[in-house]
Symmetry: C2
């Protein structure tokens, strides 16, 4: 199913162009709403040519998901148990907000997959993601127990970080409908989130 490493220059170029186009089309229309023709047009290739590189629509989609999942979890992996609790958590929030701002299509792709029941990545969520989250939740719980941050349910803390940051990518049009199309929400959002998490976590 998965091809061996692309070798020729042209393979590399086309594979990238296809995945870029697929990201654009899948994130804007969902899996079912995307057509192979749309992706082909956006990539500047013919439909059979796409299917020469990726055997099926499904293969493009799962290739995308796999490629993106790691990048999506990196900010949480970087949460350092040895660091200062509050700065570590604030830095994590900022990294997630950067991801939402710089990679909104990726965010929407995941959101869409999960809203529809995560049929293709549920297994990964239950294994890799759960392990990672449980591990980091334990770190946060330990910080609380040490009295270095205020006590808060660590799992729900992580959920709230995810939801508030990704909101600006996933619900982008709603945010702009309310704040105005030309208003960049990210500076204010960053300020808001820093204030919020500082107030709920800082001791005293």
């Amino acid at each position: 199913m998965t091809k061996a490493q692309p070798q020729t220059r042209i393979q590399k170029k086309n594979t990238r162009a296809i995945l870029e186009a697929a990201l654009e089309v899948f994130s804007a229309n969902g899996y079912r709403g995307a057509t192979v023709d749309m992706i082909a047009t956006k990539a500047g290739l013919s439909k059979p040519n796409l299917l020469y590189y990726f055997g099926s629509k499904e293969a493009m989609y799962t290739a995308l998901l796999e490629e993106l999942l790691d990048a999506w979890l990196d900010p949480l992996r970087a949460l350092d148990a040895q660091g200062e609790p509050l700065p570590e958590l604030l830095a994590y929030v900022n990294r997630k907000l950067d991801l939402a701002r710089d990679f909104p299509r990726e965010s929407r792709l995941f959101a869409n997959e999960i809203i529809h029941g995560a049929p293709r990545i549920l297994a990964v969520l239950k294994s890799d993601l759960k392990v990672l989250v449980d591990e980091k939740a334990a770190v946060i719980a330990h910080w609380s127990a040490q009295g270095r941050i205020e006590c808060l349910d660590p799992h729900h803390l992580i959920f709230s970080i995810w939801s508030m940051t990704q909101h600006y990518a996933d619900f982008d049009v709603q945010v702009h409908a309310i704040l105005g199309a030309d208003h960049d929400p990210y500076p204010d959002a960053r300020q808001y989130l820093e204030t919020l998490f500082t107030r709920i976590l800082r001791k005293n």
Copy 2:
């Protein structure tokens, strides 16, 4: 386009059955992923019979959206400028969490629509929703100015309430993948959100 009020009992019954089935199917599969046949089967009717009541797939979808939008905004409308600030806001959070818990399909339907650019309700978001949010944001800003709650960007405060509460409906499978399938997240979520908003809003 819109039919006059359904009059006969059978019209009423079938219209309800169709909208209920449509909600189920659209929220689970998205607009494009849903088929008229799926909805017909779930409603216990034949496909042409559905189209006798609703002229098109699109009509069912927009009928659903219209019907649901009001209910979705009610909790915010109920925010009372005359009430006590903190209890008012906490009550709003609780109402939104109730909606997420009791009407997850409705939440996912909206989320899906907005993620895909809100092609059918963008106008409403820019008019009705914006007006309502601006009005309530002004109320919150006024409370802050009076020194009755801590100062916080009121628009982003509202965004954070939406995102954190709806997260439990929209990303349901992810929450359960992490907390366990049999774990009911809502009691803990309610506790977490109450603590969070109390800490960021309460004076002193």
